[in-house]
C-alpha cells in the first residue's frame, strides 16, 4: 500500500510541486492507520500543513508532525495542536472517625501495651511495642485509610 501511495503522489507532481488535494489525500490515508491522527484537523495551503486539535501527549504531537512532514510535497508543518492535560488526581479519601475508630480498635487488639485514639482521621499511637511488631501494626493501620498516623510509641 505505501508503495502505491508514493507512486500516486509522484505522478501528480506538477510545476509548482504536489497539489494540496494530493497532500490532503495522503494525510487522510495515514489517518486511517494512525488513530492519534484521526481526531485532528489538517489544513493544507500551498504545501504548508497546519495541524489543529488535541493530542493525548507530547510524544503523539511530535509523532504526528513528523509523520505529516514525511509526506511528499509538504514544505512545512505548523503544529498548533494542544496537549490534553492529564486529569487531576482524585482527592485522597479519608475514612470517617467512627468506622476508623472501630477498625483501629480491631487492628491494635493483638498488641498488648498499644493504645490508639482517632481524631479527625489522625490515628495517634501511644504506649509501647516490640520493634519486630511495629511494621506489622503499621501495615494494618495504613490500610485503614487514615489521614495520618502519629506514632508516639515507645519501642522496646
Amino acid at each position: 500500500m505505501p508503495v502505491v501511495s508514493v507512486a500516486f503522489i509522484m505522478f501528480t507532481i506538477n510545476g509548482c510541486g504536489v497539489k494540496d488535494s494530493t497532500i490532503k489525500a495522503a494525510i487522510a490515508e495515514q489517518s486511517k492507520t494512525m488513530t492519534d491522527m484521526s481526531a485532528l484537523n489538517f489544513d493544507v495551503q500551498k504545501g504548508v500543513v497546519t495541524i489543529t486539535g488535541e493530542c493525548k501527549d507530547e510524544a503523539t504531537k511530535a509523532m504526528v508532525e513528523n509523520s505529516v512532514k514525511s509526506i511528499k510535497g509538504v514544505t512545512s508543518v505548523v503544529n498548533n495542536t494542544t496537549v490534553t492535560p492529564p486529569p487531576a488526581p482524585a482527592p485522597v479519601v479519608i475514612t470517617a472517625d467512627d468506622p476508623l475508630t472501630i477498625a483501629v480498635t480491631d487492628a491494635i487488639k493483638a498488641y498488648t501495651g498499644v493504645s490508639a485514639t482517632v481524631q479527625d482521621g489522625v490515628i495517634t499511637l501511644t504506649g509501647e511495642i516490640k520493634k519486630a511488631d511495629l511494621p506489622k501494626l503499621m501495615m494494618s493501620l495504613n490500610s485503614l485509610k487514615p489521614k495520618k498516623i502519629s506514632n508516639q510509641l515507645t519501642i522496646k
Partner: protein
C-alpha cells in the same frame, strides 16, 4: 525536599516491582501512596524501604496502602497468628459473635474479601465466617 522526593525510592521501586494502579498524592503535608501489589513479597519489600527512609515510622508524613492483589476465591491462606487460634466470626467486626476457630498455622480457604481487613474464609472442618486479614497470609 518535598515528600515526593523523600519517598522517591519507594515510588520508583513500586513502579519497578509492577505495582498496579499506583498513585502518589500529596495532601495537607502527607503523601498517600496507593496501589495493588502483585505479591506479598513486593509489599514486604516496599515496607522495608519505607522503614529505611523513615526509621520507626516517626514522621507521620506517609500513608502507604499497598494491597496484595490476585487473591481469588478458592485460594489458600495460612493462619499467621503469633501462637493462638484465629477467631472466625459471624460478620466482619470484632463485635460479631465467634462461630469457629482456625488453629495457628492452619491452612484455610478464602471465599471472598469483605474488605481489606475482613475476609470470609472456610476451614477444612467446614467452619465458615469472617477472619481478620492481618492474620492470614496468602499461600503461593
Amino acid at each position: 525536599m518535598t515528600l515526593q522526593d523523600k519517598y522517591r525510592e519507594l515510588t520508583d521501586a513500586a513502579k519497578q516491582y509492577g505495582v498496579t494502579g499506583l498513585q502518589a498524592r500529596e495532601q495537607d503535608g502527607v503523601l498517600y501512596i496507593d496501589g495493588e501489589s502483585p505479591a506479598g513479597t513486593v509489599k514486604d519489600a516496599l515496607w522495608k524501604i519505607y522503614e529505611k527512609l523513615d526509621p520507626d515510622f516517626r514522621s507521620g508524613d506517609l500513608v502507604m496502602n499497598i494491597n496484595v492483589s490476585g487473591l481469588a476465591s478458592g485460594s489458600k491462606a495460612k493462619v499467621v497468628t503469633q501462637t493462638s487460634n484465629l477467631n472466625i466470626r459471624k460478620g466482619p467486626g470484632t463485635d460479631q459473635p465467634i462461630v469457629g476457630k482456625a488453629a495457628h498455622h492452619e491452612i484455610v480457604t478464602l471465599i471472598s474479601k469483605s474488605s481489606d481487613q475482613w475476609w470470609l474464609i472456610r476451614t477444612d472442618d467446614g467452619e465458615e465466617g469472617y477472619a481478620y486479614a492481618q492474620y492470614l497470609s496468602p499461600e503461593p
